[in-house]
Point group: C2
Chain length 216, copies 2
């Protein structure tokens, strides 16, 4: 019975997500659902991507957080349209919340929309928002065992970015073992090592992203 | 209506948690609910605490994870009774899950029980397990803005440990601002800086813990 109710919620969410995707497609907007643990570097990644694409691709950002508008304020400084969603306790965005934001952001001025999900490796994986691609940001300090502990998140990702690679000299993290663990549950996933501090890998990430938009 | 149902769940959970607490009290076991983001260092902290208390205090550990038994295997090497709970997708432990484990661990051989919750800064804060104290492990790489983004977790903590303090030279993290943000929502909380790599602060943490057990 409990499972039935959850299934209904997920089905309803999937329908709204599909409507969001159609709306985005009709406006020529490509959307990325960005997910990670708290503090893995989603906002920093968006900021680095904005810098790289300035003058080339028009970006918009939806920020999801339980509370506060700190991330939207950081993004707002870059002169990019941004909307903050506060879930008020909710542990993930859902398609309905995403719709409220999509409906309020100037889609005609945007080609690429980042939707930064709530910092959480579990629940966001279950709720489609209408995105075209799902990107997971992992970071070196979190440790290399995460794919075993949070398999759904890695199973459903189109790309996994290994962030804070500049901290590798100071921490124990086996990149090969981590990558193999992800490939074991998700053969086709793209894995890119990046650092938002040194800029390493950002070029490769942006190139992957633009290829995905072109393929659409 | 939705809120009513959630309230019922939380009330039912609170009742089971209270029963867990009575059971633990009747056996003279002090329980700590350990919460954090993924990879903040809960298991490492338990391992360091086991080392410090070896021969002094008899420990037991309940490990909560969505999937895998990696953490229980790490703890098991220390010759301490340990039980792994896999939530199978659930984003937090609840009092009922905790009871299943408490009922299966040899309480007569234990004075201090660590319950390591699922790595998540949101949902675990809402569900009491029957613990005597709630301890949040934050880590330097997560950034100093977390109390603003995940206020409930910090609001309900008895202690916040700032872990991975050895990484401070390589990262931007304002300890004073972080501590002030926590004190702003939780005046009485204990804040201790630690490193499970260098051992810094572990003595202070263990001393705080033993004082809490003594006060009971």
């Amino acid at each position: 019975m409990k499972i039935k109710v959850l299934q209904d919620i997920l089905d309803a969410n999937e329908q709204i997500a599909e409507r969001n995707r159609q709306l985005l497609d009709s406006k020529g907007v490509f959307a990325v659902n960005l997910m990670s643990s708290p503090g893995a570097g989603k906002t920093s990644l968006i900021l680095e991507t904005i810098k790289k694409l300035k003058g080339k691709t028009k970006l918009g950002v939806i920020e999801g957080d339980v509370s506060s508008s700190l991330d939207a304020e950081r993004i707002g400084k870059e002169d990019v349209p941004v909307i903050q969603i506060n879930t008020g306790g909710g542990c993930h965005l859902d398609a309905n919340m995403a719709y409220s934001a999509i409906d309020n952001i100037p889609l005609q001025d945007i080609e690429l929309l980042f939707i930064e999900n709530v910092g959480n490796l579990i629940c966001p994986a279950e709720f489609a928002l209408g995105e075209h691609k799902r990107v997971v940001v992992s970071s070196i300090p979190e440790g290399d065992d995460k794919p075993f502990k949070y398999p759904l998140m890695f199973h459903r990702a189109d790309a996994v970015l290994i962030n804070k690679i500049d901290l590798l000299p100071y921490l124990q993290f086996d990149i090969q073992a981590f990558s193999q663990a992800i490939k074991g549950i998700n053969e086709k996933v793209e894995i890119i090592q990046i650092s938002c501090v040194t800029g390493q890998g950002i070029e490769e990430w942006v190139s992957w992203l633009l290829t995905q938009i072109g393929k659409r």
